[in-house]
């Protein structure tokens, strides 16, 4: 009897010891997993930031060619970092247009363009898209188009997310799965707002080789006083110099660079020479000028929104720009030589058009992938995840800068939280009648897109047909000779007076 009691007591003590030891082991394991997750997160972010630097360097390495009008060529795979049994893969992911990089000059500047111009591309888009553009027009200066999602109520935030980022709202494996479908739907779907609008549209005042453009106003002023800029005016032929000098000295109002085109056209200067002179000189002051639209890469909706262009001319530009030769790509005067615009029409809009982009948007994503031996890169108990950065690099300065850099790794979490908030909001309002555009949490975010209408495009016409009349009532004149600063995260552009 006594022996049995002692045995039971010993067993209880052993069982308690085992329980305590098990608890301690699990606690230690939890701590290890927690610190491993933090370490994994840090490595993933470091890898993604290395990828951002690499991609920016790769684009900047092509600075001269890109500033002359080329599109930067980059490899999707940036880095593969072996880390024990796993591998970190860092790559550029396709943007909404299917390309790895996207021109920021091909977009309308939401901080600079007139509200009526901003509204045109989204006339056939959803109501949410139109509301977002209205909100951004009313809330200048905007730090970025991406930030506009927060301008709508939470109940519509998922709709806004889809309108602003489109397929770019998905990351990692989710994006892989959506990519095939997105590729099929691409072209039929209305592009996301980040593909049509920007806050980084200011034109860098550098020439096709990356050197600062000649400030004509300062140069001719200096010329009369015999200053050092006199030498820089020697690049002009006599007739060009006379035309530009008259333009600068006789004009009382500050002009945009379209005035250079008009002055040179008026003196019968050849179109390629006009391209050359417009690319290397300016009437604007400082490092950056008024936003210009990249006619080689802009969406037809963006071109159509410009006063003086309109939908028909935009469609013709979109049709013909793929057929340009290398010389034509060095400027915008092919709009005249290809009989899309008359010289008068071209002289009216030339100050708002460009043939190149110095700012390029891309997204870098880092994640764990399968090792080369075919084994899974991440063991079952390893944390999984993806780290992503949206970035815009500006290659106009000799040392490129990151004009926009946003950590978008939490997009998926934010979507889940927003879907939950939308569902709760819908439950709260379940007794109220549903409006036509009321949001449904999951269906809204992952369901089929709202019906949209593509902008009407005219049939391509023969190049010898006469150009249409300009829709612009008069020649735009900039009110003052203001100094435009570069905008972006590192120079204090957003929110600055």
């Amino acid at each position: 009897m006594r022996r049995g009691f002692v045995l039971i007591a010993v067993l209880i003590v052993i069982a308690a010891a085992i329980l305590v030891a098990t608890g301690a082991i699990f606690a230690a394991r939890g701590a290890v997993l927690g610190s491993r997750a933090a370490d994994f997160d840090r490595r993933l972010r470091d890898a993604a930031l290395d990828g951002v630097a690499l991609a920016a360097d790769a684009i900047a390495a092509q600075r001269v060619a890109v500033l002359a009008g080329a599109t930067p060529e980059v490899d999707a795979e940036l880095l593969r970092i072996a880390d024990g049994a796993r591998q970190f893969e860092v790559r550029l992911v396709p943007l909404a247009n299917g390309e790895l990089v996207q021109s920021e000059a091909g977009k309308l500047d939401v901080n600079e363009a007139a509200p009526s111009v901003l509204a045109k591309p989204v006339e056939s888009a959803s109501e949410v898209a139109r509301q977002l553009i209205e909100a951004m027009s009313a809330r200048r200066p905007n730090s970025s188009v991406d930030a506009s999602i927060a301008l709508v109520p939470v109940a519509r935030s998922l709709d806004a997310l889809r309108e602003v980022l489109g397929p770019m709202r998905a990351l990692g494996e989710e994006r892989d799965e959506a990519e095939d479908g997105a590729a099929r739907a691409r072209g039929a779907e209305f592009p996301p707002l980040v593909s049509l609008y920007t806050t980084l549209g200011a034109e860098p005042l550098v020439d096709n080789a990356g050197n600062p453009r000649l400030d004509l106003v300062a140069a001719f002023r200096d010329d009369s006083s015999g200053g050092p800029a006199t030498a820089s005016l020697e690049r002009f032929e006599d007739v060009e110099r006379e035309a530009l000098q008259a333009l600068v000295k006789e004009s009382k109002d500050p002009l945009d660079d379209a005035a250079i085109v008009r002055a040179l056209l008026g003196r019968g200067v050849a179109l390629p020479r006009i391209d050359e002179l417009v690319a290397s000189s300016t009437l604007e002051e400082g490092t950056h000028g008024a936003p210009r639209i990249d006619i080689v890469r802009a969406d037809a909706r963006v071109l159509a929104a410009l006063d003086g262009i309109g939908p028909d001319i935009a469609a013709r530009i979109a049709d013909l720009r793929e057929t340009l030769d290398e010389k034509e790509r060095l400027g915008t005067s092919w709009l005249v030589s290809r009989l899309i615009l008359t010289p008068e029409q071209y002289g009216a809009v030339a100050g708002r058009l460009t043939h190149r982009s110095a700012l390029w948007r891309f997204r870098v994503e880092s994640r764990v992938v399968q090792g080369e031996d075919g084994e899974s890169g991440a063991p079952a108990d390893e944390p999984r995840g993806v780290c992503a950065f949206d970035c815009v690099v500006d290659i106009s300065p000799e040392s490129h800068r990151l004009a926009f850099l946003r950590d978008v790794s939490m997009l998926r979490s934010a979507r889940v939280i927003a879907a939950d908030a939308v569902a709760r909001s819908a439950e709260d309002q379940s007794e109220l009648p549903k409006t036509a555009d009321s949001s449904d949490a999951e269906a809204t975010d992952d369901g089929p897109p709202t019906e949209r209408v593509i902008l009407p495009r005219s049939e391509p016409r023969a190049i010898d047909s006469p150009p249409q009349d300009a829709t612009m009532p008069g020649v735009p004149v900039r009110p003052t000779r203001g100094r435009v600063s570069a905008t972006g995260r590192d120079i204090g552009g957003a929110g600055q007076p």
Binding site: L405, A414, R489
Partner: protein
């Protein structure tokens, strides 16, 4: 017939029991000390990781101007505030999907605690800290304060050093050359590039200046 223990047996028994109890006492004391050390060390690691992690994340996507959020990077020797571009999760006073968020880290000498503010939420870090020093590497050398609103753009990086309070409230001033318990340099993404050799030279010059002062 019952037989008691002899004196020798009793003495040996008492000696063994005393030695055993002494060993247990020493073991228990050591175990308690180790446990306290481990708990303190663990608390310090958690504290510093949360502080360093927050600064690291913020530096990765810092912006110079945050509009209504204020200047991008502003700070002095004991605090730093960084506005960065991220995805708002609808908490800490941020709206969901908002773009800009602010992270502020500051040291309060009174309470000997580091506070970490993200958006509208304020966390006091558990581990007691004797001192926290922040300095900023600009292109022309180290600075004790930095403000992007003064047109300074980004610093090359931010160095944060922490000395934990392990002697429960020591009031002595920390020696200038005291080695920090944890220190890390955070590079600001997209900041001016500085040659590592130049940074080393700047460090040497600073050390020489300190020596001269002494």
């Amino acid at each position: 017939m019952t037989r008691g223990f002899s004196l020798l047996e009793a003495l040996v028994g008492v000696a063994i029991a005393s030695a055993f109890l002494g060993a247990i006492a020493i073991f228990t004391t050591n175990l308690g000390d180790s446990r306290a050390r481990l708990a303190r060390s663990s608390r310090e690691i958690v504290c510093i990781e949360s502080v360093f992690g927050a600064i690291e994340r913020a530096c990765a996507s810092a912006v110079v101007s945050g509009g209504q959020q204020g200047a991008g990077i502003v700070g002095n020797e004991t605090s730093v505030r960084i506005v960065c571009s991220t995805i708002g999760l609808g908490r800490d006073g941020q709206q969901i999907f908002s773009e800009l968020g602010a992270t502020a880290v500051s040291f309060d000498p009174g309470s000997r605690r580091i506070s970490l503010r993200r958006g509208g939420s304020l966390d006091m870090i558990g581990a007691p800290v004797r001192e926290m020093r922040v300095r900023y590497l600009a292109v022309d050398g180290w600075q004790d304060a930095f403000d992007t609103a003064e047109g300074a753009g980004f610093p090359v990086g931010i160095e944060v050093s922490v000395w934990f309070d392990r002697a429960s409230g020591t009031e002595d001033e920390l020696p200038a050359d005291a080695v920090p318990d944890r220190s890390r340099f955070f590079r600001v993404m997209g900041a001016p590039r500085v040659d590592p050799l130049a940074i080393r030279r700047i460090d040497r010059e600073r050390e020489a200046a300190r020596e001269e002062q002494r």
